[in-house]
Symmetry: C2
Subunit: 193 residues, 2 copies
DNA sequence: TGCCAACCGGAACATCGCTCCGTATGGTGA
DNA sequence: TCACCATACGGAGCGATGTTCCGGTTGGCA
């Protein structure tokens, strides 16, 4: 689990090439067909065998993580920046959540894959590892500022947001962003009235 | 789609018997294994062939609908009653939503199956046909009373609630009921502050 | 009792995830 | 330059599941 020792022999050239080909094929198919596209299709599009796909990415989740790693990273990095720049912690939280929602709804089926349902555990874990601390910081800052009720955990909030984003594509009558806004509004201390 | 003409010849006795057996088997398996239990298992448990299951219930959704029809009906009927009895329309809405959430979270995988994702379209349709008007009435009453902002459709609200219930079983850290409460709180006119 | 439409059962086909192993090849040391 | 072998490849194959199809069975009526 720790970093591989730097003495690790570099991978063979064909291996590196194939890994990239799979990554590219997966990225393309994810856009057009969602993250549930059959592994066979990815292998075919990449011009490799299925064994090769599974060797480089033991589970579908590993592949999804690899494809979206950059975007998740930048979403994670945006958290502290927003907190520093925004007019209030709650505003920062709202902006960050909007970023997160935007990321989820544009990736067909990603939100669905995020529910822990064993199988995509690695995906779930990665998202949580990377984004939960960011969300927790924003939430804590807002709570400290008295702008939100501190009785909801960041975990619960993130899962709720993720769930609200399920099926947000493919259904014009369903606007996940609006519902997420409502959820955030509900975080206001002691509600309204 | 209209009622079958009453001139329809009654089904054969064995057909009726088998339909009931499938229904019973499905109900039992849904409780223990969720609504995604393999059709083969249902057929085996009911002591019939798979062809029989598919003949009586062309899609899994039809079977799910048949199994839960009574509970959906009583949930639908509770709406007007709550509106008549509760102290305020918003309170009635909250109680009814709680009823709905309770129904969803206790049926493993039902909430997941509810997202329109073609395949369980019949399920989605049935729930919407039956419950959406009820929810819409409650929502409209609350809006008329000035207790909620009228800019969210009942459809959106129901889908949001359904989504929030996904995975609510199987994860002790995730309390769908609390998040749904937050969502409802967010409906308060012009927010808090 | 005999007939036939309705109904049954489960084999068969299709899809998909994942594994396994015989084969091919990149890179290295001689 | 060449031979060797660890590394990597490819895709057949297995198990699970959804769904269809058709030959055989049977309930209900004349």
């Amino acid at each position: 689990m720790v970093d591989a020792p730097e003495t690790a022999r570099p991978k063979r050239a064909d291996a590196r090439r194939n890994e990239q080909a799979v990554l590219d094929a997966a990225a393309a198919l994810f856009v057009s067909g969602g993250v549930d596209v059959p592994v066979r299709d990815i292998a075919t599009k990449a011009g490799v065998g299925m064994g090769t796909v599974y060797r480089h990415f033991p589970t579908r989740a590993d592949l999804v993580v690899a494809v979206y790693r950059h975007q998740v990273e930048s979403c994670a990095e945006a958290g502290p920046a927003l907190l520093a720049d925004a007019s209030s912690p709650k505003a920062a939280l709202a902006e960050w959540v909007d970023l997160f929602v935007g990321f989820l709804v544009t990736k067909h089926g990603l939100a669905s894959a995020l529910r822990s349902d064993e199988g995509s555990a690695a995906l779930h874990t990665y998202f949580l590892d990377r984004l939960l601390p960011v969300c927790a910081d924003l939430l804590a800052a807002a709570a400290n500022a008295g702008e939100v009720d501190p009785d909801v955990s960041a975990y619960e909030l993130m899962r709720g947001i993720g769930n609200l984003c399920i099926g947000a594509d493919t259904d014009p009558r369903y606007d996940a962003r609006r519902l997420v806004r409502l959820l955030l509004a509900g975080l206001a201390p002691t509600g309204a009235s």
